[in-house]
């Protein structure tokens, strides 16, 4: 099973998908959280507006994605067509992956935002004041003082996001590929479901489950052990 080309292809896509979803959703959320922590006016409205998407179910996010990326009516497709990119969701492997990543990032930003913001608010004001006396450049101050203090939150979120990209995106993927997995990109969890419940290949499906279990096991160990030691706490 591990040597089969199909499995390799799905595993590669899962890796790429996880990488982009984690990187983009963490990056955007961090930027927004830093700004939301800084502004004086309207901070709580921004906070509410940025986090309510948490409550949107992944398949519903996928359905909205299907609408916005629809070949005939989707505004995103029309927008990219202006730049000469003719998107074909469900036909082109690359375009479908793109739509999935955008949807998955959209759905994940709120969680990261909430954690980063509460991490930022946990940094004591005296530390920040001392830093602003010592260093005038706001950007450098962020990298040398705020960012290391946020590291525990960041590492924790890294694990959360990897788990999210692995498992919780099932709904998004299922809706976007619309029951036609043929040449469309799918993740490992989706393949477990596909082989077990569609293909009736119970053995192969269970074997894949075991591989996934090992991955979750490793992630959890990392979460509980390594992070505690390596990351610098205040």
């Amino acid at each position: 099973m591990v040597t089969s080309t199909d499995y390799g292809r799905v595993a590669r896509f899962t890796a790429v998908f996880t990488f982009f979803v984690t990187l983009l959703s963490l990056g955007i959320a961090l930027l927004l959280a830093v700004k939301a922590d800084k502004v004086l006016r309207g901070a709580s409205s921004y906070k509410t507006l940025l986090m309510w998407v948490y409550a949107v179910a992944p398949p519903v996010a996928g359905l909205i994605g299907v609408l916005l990326f629809d070949q005939h009516v989707g505004p995103i497709v029309e927008l990219f067509a202006l730049f000469g990119w003719k998107m074909q969701i469900g036909v082109s492997y690359f375009d479908t992956s793109f739509a999935m990543i955008v949807t998955a990032v959209w759905k994940q930003i709120p969680v990261n935002f909430i954690f980063f913001l509460s991490g930022l608010q946990g940094i004591s004001k005296s530390v920040q004041e001392a830093a602003s006396i010592d260093c005038r450049s706001g950007f450098r101050r962020f990298w040398t003082v705020t960012f290391p203090l946020l590291a525990p939150t960041g590492f924790f979120l890294l694990i959360i996001n990897i788990t999210y990209a692995f498992f919780d995106t099932f709904g998004i993927i299922d809706v976007i590929v619309k029951n036609e997995p043929g040449n469309n990109p799918v993740t490992l969890v989706y393949k477990v479901y596909l082989d077990g419940f569609r293909g009736n290949d119970l053995g192969g499906s269970s074997a894949q489950s075991v591989i996934l279990m090992v991955m979750v096991f490793i992630l959890t160990i990392v979460q509980f052990r390594l992070i505690e030691r390596r990351v610098h706490y205040t």
Partner: protein, 280 residues
């Protein structure tokens, strides 16, 4: 300084735009009729079909066997969300109570067994879980839908941490006053954890409401479909049609979004507290 603030606001507004627009567009789509959308693409203004579309979605039967409508699905989603949240809180409070306050044989083993469930999210164990539920004859029942989802340790750890922070003096005082274990739990621990319970309840309600994979497997009977589970049928029946009924599909999507979003927004501070503290 003034200039910096403006750029901050611009970035935040872009972020808000990115987060809010998709749902707003979905809502606007749900207020038009299908032909307008098909002909002219997504509309950026509200249309006049709001009541018609939502009435169709809520009260007219759709799907394959024509026996389920939005109202039934809304009810099922409520049952799943509430049942899951309540079940989860009861189980995890009792488990945490046992772990923290009782010395019983093989307590460490029990702790690790509970801990191990963290390693097994439902997605990893779908096949065996399905087999068990099927052999118990619980396919297409509410209990088959809810009970297997409750089996995970997240809530237990949350309450365990909280119980460990409760001072021992309270326990001693209760003992001196003659309170048994049950009375101590009911009259002291439960009132103390009210905020925690509220926070966890919100998280779990949203989590239960948004379940997709498990309901997809376990409910094949349409009268048990939840809104989120119904999405798949929407895709096949409406969006797959000649003229895709995006308006009705989006009306259902909005119905599925509104209740959990309202809860999250209204109880925002509890929600944030629950989220930030439960995942640690």
């Amino acid at each position: 300084m003034k200039k910096l603030q403006i750029s901050d606001h611009i970035i935040l507004l872009l972020g808000v735009f990115f987060m809010v627009t998709p749902v707003v567009l979905a809502f606007l789509t749900s207020t038009h009729d299908a032909i307008t959308i098909y002909k002219e693409g997504i509309q950026f203004t509200p249309g006049g079909k709001f009541f018609e579309n939502y009435e169709t979605v809520l009260f007219e039967a759709g799907g394959f066997t024509k026996e389920v409508n939005g109202f039934v699905m809304l009810k099922n989603s409520m049952i799943l969300g509430l049942g899951f949240a309540v079940g989860k809180i009861v189980i995890s409070m009792l488990a945490a109570y046992a772990i923290v306050y009782f010395r019983f044989p093989m307590a460490t083993l029990c702790f690790w067994v509970i801990f191990a469930t963290l390693l097994l999210p439902l997605e990893v164990r779908i096949l065996p879980s399905y087999e068990i539920v099927q052999s118990l004859g619980m396919v297409n029942t509410y209990s088959g839908l809810i009970v297997p989802l409750i089996a995970s340790a997240t809530g237990t750890f949350f309450f365990r941490q909280f119980f460990m922070s409760v001072p021992d003096e309270l326990l001693e005082a209760a003992r001196i006053d003659g309170a048994g274990p049950w009375k101590f739990f009911k009259d002291i621990l439960v009132p103390l954890s009210q905020t925690m319970i509220a926070a966890i309840f919100i998280i779990m309600f949203v989590y239960g409401w948004n379940q997709y994979l498990w309901p997809t497997l376990i409910t094949t009977d349409e009268s048990l479909f939840t809104l989120v589970r119904g999405i798949k049928q929407i895709l096949q029946v409406w969006v797959g049609a000649q003229i895709p009924d995006f308006n009705e599909a989006m009306a259902l999507a909005i119905l599925a979004i509104v209740p959990p979003v309202l809860i999250v927004v209204i109880f925002q501070s509890w929600f944030v507290k629950g989220l930030v503290e439960s995942d640690k």
